[in-house]
Amino acid sequence: MATGTGSPPASPSRSAAGPLDLRRIRADFPILSSAVRDGHRLVYLDNAATSQKPRPVIDAMSRFYAGENANIHRGLHYLSERATAAYHAAREKVAGFLGAASSSEIVFTRGTTEAINLVAQSWGRNSLRPGDEVLVTVMEHHANLLPWQVVCEQTGARLRAVAITDQGELDIESFDRLITERTRLFAVGHVSNALGTVNPVGELAARARARGALVLVDGAQSAPHLPVDVVELGCDFFACSGHKMLGPTGIGVLYGRMELLEAMPPWQTGGEMIERVSLERSTWALPPARFEAGTPPIAEAIGLAAAIDYVESVGRQAIEEWERELLARATELVGALPGARLVGTAREKAAVLSFVLEGIHPHDVGAVLDDEGVAVRAGHHCAQPLMQRLGIPATVRASFAFYNTLEEVDTLAAGVERARKVFA
């Protein structure tokens, strides 16, 4: 994991001969050689919003649609059997990637958001009682806040939030105060999408579980960047999205411990998820099918499996190391610009650099960067309570992936400097 400060910037020459073969890797991502805004080469630094897709992912999906498309579990015909096998293989692949004990603990969803809503509405709505508490943190993405707000309103449970420090780390004293025998579930982001903070979820999960609480980890931002092992983390649920980890949109993953999934009722009903149906009543299939009503995202599951293969071929350790260098350089260069203030300076950070420029609105910084071909996010990052806590309406966020180069970091810094001049 990268540190926000301290590491010296790598020399520019490293990018050609870094730990990764960047030239080869970049050639696998067709979009990275495209031009935007008057012929500027795309510098894509909005990876926390969605990652780009390598050729093998795009090809796996076109191959499926061009030559293998069929619904699963329905036909006895050749193509349906092949599609069913490919869908199951994708589930196995995800289980291995996340360290789950069995692929039956892997539910495919539409994304992280749907995975968390599934737990809130299936487990939460049926288990929470007045007097119970759900604990989140101030830095959560709305996707890991609103489902809990809603289910607390529905059940009479109380929602509480762990405070953060000015550096953007979880306030452990606040956590210790708020985690009590009333806490039924602790829902926490592994990596903050807005700040890059890597939360000590393993340690917190152990403490939460010792109090009898379940633990849900929002892994939307960690699965693409850090090695993840759900058993090692000690969490009960883990949610992530395909499209943030080189895969397609429209597919996400919920890992849940089998014992919990088995006790949870379905939250959507329809085809595929039943055992037996009569006009009066029905019984449900075992997990994970119980939670996958209707035709699932088959091509997307195949695309996600190809994405995992790609990530593993590059190596998660190597990815983490290279992204740490990118962050160190960006932190150094942007942090040194007059009027720039980094937002989120946690000791443990993933490759997200959030910042503000004094007197200049993040949107305007984003527009100048866009004019140079640099794609960043400017806004509240779907984390409004966090922005309120930090006392700012928005930040500029550059978020990196392993296919980014040190030269791209330099382009970012030069663009920020230009923004400063335009609005001076």
Binding site: D38, D371, G379, H380, Q384, F423
Partner: protein, 147 residues
């Protein structure tokens, strides 16, 4: 296609730096708050009316250069205008920033200084920034008593 310098014309940069009528109004008879949930921009518009005529307008808030300059230029353009003229001006401004008409083009639409926002049409994500002050003004006018 618009370029960055067409988006951020000098008049816009100048109004962003020193916005006009940037103050709360104690004795306003109309007031409204505007929010852009997409980017978190928020502003308050105050106004005073004298029957049909808008006698004073002011604003305060957080926003990008486009929304700040738009609010500043709007307040200048509206003083002394009737409610109906204000509504017409908003419609013309909206057509300009959405690209339905061009500044000083053959449509014969007179926008005066507001024509500096013509570059916004090339940046669809910024239309809301430019029009937020006007939507807020509309709500403020509705809150003011009509005689």
């Amino acid at each position: 296609m618009s370029t960055l310098s067409e988006l951020y014309q000098n008049v816009i940069l100048e109004h962003n730096r020193s916005p006009r009528n940037y103050r709360a109004m104690e004795d306003a008879d109309g007031r409204a708050e505007g929010n852009n949930p997409l980017c978190g921009d928020q502003l308050t518009v105050w106004l005073k009316t004298d029957g049909e005529i808008i006698s004073d307008v002011s604003f305060q808030g957080l926003g990008c250069a486009i929304s700040r300059a738009s609010a500043s230029l709007m307040t200048g353009a509206l003083k002394g205008k009737s409610r109906r003229e204000a509504e017409e001006l908003f419609q013309r401004f909206h057509r300009l920033v959405t690209g339905e008409s061009t500044a000083g083009g053959n449509t014969g639409e007179t926008l005066g200084k507001l024509a500096v926002f013509s570059g916004v049409a090339g940046y669809p994500s910024r239309v809301k920034c430019a029009s937020l002050p006007w939507h807020t003004l509309k709500a403020a006018l509705e809150s003011a008593p009509q005689r």
